[in-house]
């Protein structure tokens, strides 16, 4: 019996002696793996949001599984659920369930189209204006061109305290027609707007002509053209998706250590066709 207690004692002691080494090994090993795992699951770019939403065969997450010889058993339904910001919209939300069920309907599935007319980027931009800073919301959308290419275009300008001193009723012709905001400008936080707003000769290339007299675009265009404001940077990007005449949702970036991170759906609403049109008009009117 005494021998039994001595044996138990030594097992106990050896566990405590070894546990420090063991757990420190596990921690450092874990840290690298955890970082790698985070990189796999984070929705790193809005492009990846599209990939996952549509469950594209060449998506990053599928490629990672394939490279590791792990069978990809995740359904599109699950992929879409992972695109919600769980901190704002819990997994058991009724709205989310309805949405997922609707877009993954076998007979009539709904997909996102990068080149479609149903999504917009709303930017909160910081400018220098009269020796202080000013925040101006700008709305952009992807426009497909005749050469089967695409570009980001400014389609609306939101309200701000900007008052342009010079009034111009139409945009001036650009010198180089091909200059544009590349279709991947969103990934680098639209830093290319800095170049665009400094390119006064071709400024009209970056604005949607049809919307020039709508929202606050003409006053904004004039202020940029006449150097009344200077672009500093984009503070925040919010994407608006208007889907199948019934779903509206916004996607924002949540950079955090959780696996549920990156570009995620933060707000969602179900609307009627007229509600959808009102939402679009409000966005394009700069309200």
């Amino acid at each position: 019996m005494a021998k039994h207690y001595v044996l138990k004692f030594w097992i106990f002691i050896s566990f405590f002696v070894c546990q420090h080494t063991l757990f420190s090994q596990v921690y450092s090993d874990n840290n690298d793996r955890a970082k790698e795992k985070h990189f796999f699951y984070e929705v790193k770019e809005i492009d990846e949001f599209f990939e996952r939403f549509n469950d594209e065969p060449g998506s990053f997450i599928r490629t990672v599984y394939k490279a590791r010889n792990v069978k990809f058993r995740i359904s599109r339904r699950r992929l879409i659920r992972s695109l919600f910001n769980y901190e704002n919209m819990p997994g058991d939300s009724v709205m989310m369930k309805r949405f997922v069920s609707d877009v993954t309907n076998k007979d009539n599935p709904i997909y996102l189209d990068f080149y479609g007319n149903d999504w917009y980027a709303e930017l909160s931009c910081k400018f220098r204006y009269r020796s202080s800073s000013i925040i101006i919301p700008i709305v952009l959308k992807i426009e497909v061109t005749e050469n089967k290419g695409s570009k980001w275009m400014i389609v609306a300008v939101g309200r701000s305290r900007l008052k342009s001193n010079i009034a111009v009723s139409e945009m001036t012709q650009s010198k180089i027609k091909t200059k544009c905001l590349s279709p991947v400008s969103h990934a680098t936080n639209f830093v290319s707007l800095k170049r665009a707003f400094e390119d006064k000769e071709n400024l009209s290339n970056y604005f949607e002509n049809a919307n020039f007299k709508r929202s606050n675009m003409s006053a904004f265009y004039n202020a940029v053209l006449n150097r009344e404001i200077e672009f500093l940077h984009v503070i925040k990007i919010k994407y608006h998706f208007l889907l199948a005449d019934k779903w509206i949702f916004t996607v924002e970036d949540f950079t955090r250590e959780a696996l549920n991170s990156g570009w995620l759906i933060n707000h969602m609403q179900k609307v009627s066709a007229s509600g959808m049109e009102n939402y679009r008009n409000k966005l394009l009117d700069g309200n």
């Binding site: 596990v26 796999f40 990053f60 699950r78 061109t145 936080n189």
Partner: protein
Amino acid sequence: MQYFFTGKNPKQTHLIRSAGSAGLIILALISLLLNAPAKIYAYPHNVAVKHMISTVIPPHAIDAVAGYTINKDTVRPVAEEMTGKVSKEEFKKKALSKIKEFQNCLVILCDKKAGNEAQDNAVDQATSLFIDGAIIEVSSVRSDEKKHMKVRDFLEKLRTLRYERVVITFSHVDYISNIRKGSDGKYYGVISFEQTFRAFSDGRLVYEDETKKTTEVQLIVYERNLRGNAIQQWDVMLSDVEVLGTKTPKQ
């Protein structure tokens, strides 16, 4: 690994993980007694198995381009062949190799033993990877402040850091977006990767930060004169970069 996609509340998954951890501690004890700690994994069993699979493949050997197929949202505007000859796979491979080249230059710039000549070359080589006028935006998730810098200025600033030793590590896998044709006829893509920067002085870690770098890449077509014949060639150039600090730096 797939449990993340169950869509459960993180708190629920945390509970599952905690239960898994408790089980692991018991396993650890048994394993210690059996003198086999190397077989223990910190994740739940199903995850650990997949990590074991991943360790079989050297991380840098994983090519995110491999197995890439046409994606739904690129089908309409992008022609199958870029400028007649370049495939999307070739474009992506080239873009990845440019990123690796850029990463190598960063390592040289931060190596205090590299010497002035090697660092001058690294600045020149890294700058030559970018298109003229490319902008680097440096920011942090904890602040609204963002700085815009020219590529050369960014690199020169990096080389002047006064630390005894600097270690830069990059994520093993890069994210590469779909290739998109611009209205200007050029082809564009995006590459994202993560970087950990550690600086040491007197043998101690004195600064550490983590950043996510996102780079725009462009396909450039140019003509080269070879024995009197103009031959059309292509290359990939890096463009604007966003450097986003993702974690509070340790000072």
